[in-house]
Symmetry: C2
Subunit: 145 residues, 2 copies
């Protein structure tokens, strides 16, 4: 059980950009800092932009920054939007289900309760709650734009 | 985010065998009923046997049944034992982590809390809670051994 790399990179980027503040950053800097694939990261940033979380500017001095206050970006919402598959098991997706005991087996309901509990924790948390302190930021990334 | 097929098949098999009771069943019957790969299922049953949840008998009339009362088989424990990878994101696995903000980023702690909430629901539930009623069982599988 693992979150997708898309969700992982999306959450890290939002935390990074919340810490970077108004100055923002660039895909190059973020991929360098996290030592992750820039091409994969660019796709994730495009998705976050399409979702309204980021704004980007082109050209010299261009880059990426949060499009809204970090207090308004709920982690549970981001996870729901960036995970491509939230069907924990086959019967969560009624169209693909072939399990004959669906509807009389308690597993679907119980796994659904467990997944709701997982998301409820993340719904109580925003990007602002996860941002680094200015001290930790300066120590880790002294050269970051 | 998805549980592995191993966990899915393990949970279904345990629910099926709890419902089958002392008579047990066979890998052939279970794979037929769930319309799943018998070879994959056999590996899952072997794993459940190694974990002490099942006992098998060979030969004519042989088969598989629960090795303990379904009330003693906790779903959260089975999920922990059958999921090969419980590292929701990279930083959950300290040995593989390359993320530089580990320790100062709040994401690991918050995702850990969410995952604990997920497992806590499953820790409050046993295979006995999920077994089918005799009526549902007879309606779905009238010919099951």
């Amino acid at each position: 059980m693992r979150l997708t790399l898309q969700t992982d990179y999306a959450l890290r980027s939002l935390v990074f950009l919340a810490t970077a503040g108004e100055a923002g950053s660039t895909a190059q800097v973020i991929s360098d800092r996290f030592r992750i694939s820039k091409s994969h990261l660019v796709k994730v940033l495009q998705r976050l932009r399409a979702l309204g979380y980021l704004e980007t500017t082109r050209g010299r001095g261009g880059g990426v920054k949060l499009a809204c206050a970090p207090e308004t970006i709920v982690i549970g919402a981001v996870v729901r939007q960036t995970e491509d598959d939230l069907a924990l098991v086959e019967c969560f997706n009624k169209q693909d289900n072939s399990c004959p005991i669906i509807g009389v087996c308690g597993l679907e309901r119980k796994l659904g309760e467990a997944f709701a509990a997982f998301l409820a924790v993340l719904d109580g948390c925003t990007v602002a709650d996860l941002a680094l302190t200015p001290g930790a930021w300066a120590r880790l990334f002294p050269e970051t734009r």
